[in-house]
């Protein structure tokens, strides 16, 4: 339970930093994203669960070291700068932190049909169309 709460809290902080809404990109729904992330961790390997938790903790620690603040205290400009500095790092494990943390976040956000529709990727019609076609052997 404690772990679940920890993951939920970190994920909502990170969703805000990772996914910046624009005209075409809808705002993230932290609840939906953390539900997906928890399910993703539950269905995955113990190794991944451990690595993902480690990543969340390391991101927080790196933020404290580099910015002297916790992730939730960063405004979007600072957050952007902090994450980009990690992506640009010459040290592969540091680069891996935002890549890994972002994986389930982006995956769940862009799997939302309203988000996809805003991008011009409309599966609703296709789903209806596909339901009417069944190929038999």
């Amino acid at each position: 339970m404690i772990l679940e709460r920890y993951v939920r809290e970190r994920i909502s902080e990170l969703s805000r930093l990772f996914i910046v809404p624009t005209d075409d990109i809808l705002a993230p729904e932290p609840e939906q994203i953390s539900a997906f992330c928890l399910e993703f961790m539950r269905q995955g390997t113990p190794g991944f669960r451990f690595l993902y938790l480690f990543t969340l903790i390391s991101l927080e620690a790196a933020c404290l070291l580099r910015k002297g603040k916790r992730l939730r205290e960063l405004d979007s400009g600072e957050g952007e700068e902090f994450l980009q500095s990690l992506y640009r790092s010459r040290w592969a494990p540091l680069r891996a932190l935002p890549l890994l943390a972002g994986l389930p976040l982006f995956f769940s956000h862009y799997d939302r049909e309203d988000v996809q529709k805003a991008l011009g990727y409309d599966v609703e019609n296709l789903r209806r169309e596909a339901a009417l076609r069944e190929v038999t052997r």
Binding site: I19, V20, P46, Q84, A96, F107, L119, A130, E134
Partner: protein, 560 residues
Amino acid sequence: MIRRPEEFDQDLRLEADVAVVGSGAGGGPLAKELSEAGYRVVVLEEGGHFTREDFNFKPGEAFLRMYRDAGQTVTLGLPVILLPQGCTVGGTTTVNSGTCLRIPRSVLRRWQLEHGLKDLTSDEMDLLYAALEEYLFVKRADPEVVGKNAIIFKEAAERLGYSAGFLPRNAKDCEGFGMCPYGCPTNSKQSVNVSFIPDAVRAGAEVITRCRVTHIITRGGRALGVRGYLYDPLTRKRTLSVEVRSSVVALCGGALQTPSLLFHNRLCLSSGAVGRNLFIHPCGSTLALLDEPLGNPKGIPQSTYVDEFSSEGIELEGATLPPSVFAITLPWSGRKHSEIMATYPYFGTFGSMISEHDSRGRVLPGPSPRQPLATYHLGYQDAQRLKLSILLMAEIWFEAGARKVITPIQGFLELSSPRDMSALSRAKIKPHQFIGLSAYHPMGTCPMGGDPDSAVVRPTGETWEVDNLFICDASILPTSLGVNPQLTIMALSVRTAGFIDEKLARGIDRAEALSRIEKWKGRLRREKERLAYRLNTFFGMEGDISQQGETSGTSGAGDR
């Protein structure tokens, strides 16, 4: 019948001629062939059974439900490579792209010369391929439905003088709904879950889903069956135990799980070849910003190839990505990520794969038998070939009018013009500079070959060390194949079914012979008893005949 764990309320004890572990490209064809030949076949599949009604255009759900460990399988090493595997009825074929290619001649020749597979002739393979292609409706992707991404890329490649074309696929009446790797929503893709498995079931095979095999039962160097358990898909906890006693056991769990099962059971380990030689065909990708929208998701995700450099083991194969998968390939976050995502409809995507030269991979026993460790180090030469494939794709994209090309190479993430390419072409790329690589074709971890010191299975598919234990999946391919492997795995599976059939038929003759010997021994015993009785009466030693009879009977039993 395809059976789910909810249907059972007590432990399962089954008898069969053949127990098949896994229902993918290896297991499906084997189950069909043998059940149609009249054998009792039980297929044990760890994943669940999903049909087109479940395939809902949601990649996220597909990963959670139909991919092993939610698609999180990776190889450890430099760089870390994502290696997703299917775990569902139909195995990885249910979530693959449907490309069906034959083995390159040069690779088959090498198998014949270097791996003792002389009997695996090109004539025989051609026959098997032809039959499979007919059964699976394999034909070239239809240019009318491949989609804009494919057409633009192919035309640009041809303008540059590169050899390009449409890929052969196992799809019938495909209308390009663009969802092959997340479950075909119309049953057009002839993956094993809609072809071999239904036919096997029609011929009497029983498929037990959500059943993980953990033990191979052996005695005296001979396989006698398998043991495993059913589990609850929600909690993943074991519910009931399963035991199948069978004359033949066929392991078809794929190139990571099959060696893990052998490690766990300490079988076939003396050659040291189990788990060695993991090949994966590392893949690179490029995303290109174009001036016109590409109309995703309509189109075939993987329909086009450029094989200009295939002699060097480089293949380009087109792959379009839905937004969620596209989003995770971008090495940015925040505003920059959103800006790129906002132009998603204008992005073309294409992929490459290389056949390994100096990379080294291995499967090792993991923390649990379900989770073997796969290590893989991308070799320096292979890194340069992967770079070459990315340069080639970038060149084609710029020819197609791309404004920029995103690559997975640290230091060269964005190429804005053909001029940027020259810096990349001069650079010697180190393996760890690649970000977010993936691979889809693990193979080679239980190689087939003519020498028991270096191979795990014989040319017939039976293991060198355990009688009646066969392996029939991607793990038996002795080298990196160089092309998408499913058709070759299926061809070898059909071939192995023939050897199993032969063996079982011989086995039945042997059983008859054994029962004749038993009858003959019985007659001998009765003669002995009669003689003993006569001797006793002759010498007046009228003892307890029944007891004598029992004694000789017992000794007779002991002789057996």
